[in-house]
């Protein structure tokens, strides 16, 4: 339920007295950095897929990125599109939401949207972890870093569903 303190934020209007500078948004900055990191990993894996270049990762035993990334599960079902491409899309939207929160720090709707988006990403991560552990029985370290970034993003967005400081509350 929306806390009463956020009544004015749906409009993007700061509830603090006029002229009060917007508080610093380290949380939004962290979310933007996480999105950039995610874009880097997804971009690298996508370039490896299309350029057919060797993957910087172990390829023996339980850790085997190549085995995961060359499996049928590495493609969007029914297409030849690597799943890392939708991953790039996910982090682009995540970055846009983080930047929007820097621009509109009092907009609670943006925080809710970001949490919902990260939750959607986390559901996808749970499916991909299932594929790795049960279907393929190997772990891809690059994919795991991808999954950890999404998990931290989700936790961060949940954290930010509550006001960061008194400046976000009605005086």
């Amino acid at each position: 339920m929306l806390p009463a303190d956020f009544g004015a934020e749906g409009s993007g209007r700061p509830p603090t007295a006029e002229g009060t500078p917007a508080p610093a948004q380290p949380g939004a900055i962290v979310l933007a950095v996480l999105a950039v990191l995610g874009l880097g990993v997804a971009g690298y894996l996508t370039s490896v897929h299309y350029a057919h270049t060797p993957l910087a990762c172990s390829s023996s035993g339980t850790i085997d990125c190549a085995k995961v990334l060359s499996s049928v599960y590495s493609l969007v079902p029914g297409t030849s599109i690597p799943v890392t491409l939708p991953g790039i899309g996910f982090f682009l939207i995540s970055l846009a939401l983080a930047l929007a929160q820097l621009w509109r720090p009092f907009n609670y709707g943006l925080r809710q949207a970001h949490a919902a988006w990260a939750g959607l990403g986390m559901l996808t991560v749970l499916y991909l972890v299932f594929v790795e552990l049960v279907e393929l029985r190997v772990i891809c370290l690059w994919c795991t870093s991808f999954h950890v970034i999404i998990l931290i993003t989700l936790l961060m967005t949940l954290w930010r569903l509550y006001p960061q400081d008194r400046a976000l509350s009605r005086p």
Partner: protein, 320 residues
């Protein structure tokens, strides 16, 4: 009534008109609630965050336990059975019109001319050009390639003592337990045009749940040299056509069409040129035939003179 008490009453009436819930004491109470609300708003959602982390942790633990259970429940099928003559006859008598309808099929890795820089040894046996196959019984791509090799070479000679095996149950990434043949266990190919050496370097028997497989056959020295020099990664399957042409890795893009089918179902699908099985297996077989026609100088004519084979042959000859 004193001026002070009248002023207080006016204030209460004013508050009522403004919709405020009560008088001075209630206002004080409202301020109190507001203060507590501000305190609550400052709290962090540790419960929610702990719940998310907990759910993810439990999910991963359950998956690990499930994976362990499923893995220990996988049953290796390491039986080696003599191939029924009816099955061999069925797949070696596929009508020419079916093969011509498939053409190159959905093959993604056709045979290539071996560059002269490799200085590959000219493989031969008894005066005949030799075709060498190196694979492994566990390997799912080899499982599909063998169907193509058997069908492709059947136009030039006769197979005997072929045996049925399944690829490894643990190769779930590419395709598990695929119905196929083995070139070990006494398989033989006789032909007036070409000689054939088929070696299964490893079996489909694993004692460590697919991490490694037992060695099955050694390679003749000339074949070993060709295998290690041309196929520097040592990947299966490997086909060498007399040191002139080679296929490194699987011809087929995917072995999934074979998944879940037994030998008779594969044989049945091979009669339908539009089936995915026919596209992969017969497409590969046609390339095997075309590459072999290069070695035999287009003999026998009834096979090599086919316009479809000639087209594939030109593609192989023009490759680098």
């Amino acid at each position: 009534m004193s001026k002070k008490s009248m002023a207080a009453r006016r204030q209460m009436q004013s508050d009522k008109l403004a919709g405020k819930p009560g008088g001075g004491r209630q206002q004080a109470g409202s301020r109190g609630r507001g203060h507590r609300r501000n305190d609550r708003s400052g709290k962090r959602p540790w419960g929610l965050i702990s719940a998310v982390v907990g759910v993810v942790a439990v999910f991963v633990v359950v998956l690990l336990l499930t994976e362990s259970t499923l893995n220990s429940g996988l049953q290796q099928d390491t039986q080696v059975l003599a191939a029924p003559a009816s099955l061999v006859k069925s797949i070696t008598t596929i009508p020419l019109k079916t093969l011509e309808a498939v053409k190159g099929g959905s093959i993604g890795n056709s045979p290539l001319n071996i560059p002269s820089s490799y200085k590959a040894a000219a493989l031969s046996q008894g005066g005949l050009p030799e075709i060498a196959y190196v694979g492994a019984e566990y390997c799912p791509y080899c499982a599909l390639e063998r169907w193509s090799v058997i069908i492709g070479l059947s136009h030039f000679g006769t197979w005997s003592d072929l045996h049925l095996i399944r690829s490894s149950v643990y190769e779930t990434v590419v395709g598990a337990s695929l119905a196929t043949f083995s070139f070990a266990h006494g398989a033989n190919f006789t032909s007036p045009y070409v000689a054939f050496v088929g070696r299964e370097f490893q079996s489909n028997v694993s004692t460590d749940q697919g991490q490694s497989y037992k060695t099955l056959q050694s390679l003749p020295p000339a074949v070993a040299t060709a295998f290690t020099s041309i196929d520097s990664n040592g990947g299966y399957p490997f086909l060498d056509y007399a040191g002139r042409i080679a296929t490194v890795g699987s011809e087929a893009k995917s072995v999934l069409p074979l998944q879940g089918l037994d030998w008779s179902q594969v044989a049945k699908d091979l009669r339908n040129p539009t089936s995915k099985v026919a596209q992969e297996v017969l497409g590969g077989a046609n390339y095997v035939t075309a590459a072999t026609c290069i070695l035999t100088d287009n003999k026998p004519g009834k096979v090599c003179d086919s316009a479809m084979i000639q087209k594939l042959r030109q593609k192989v000859e023009s490759s680098e």
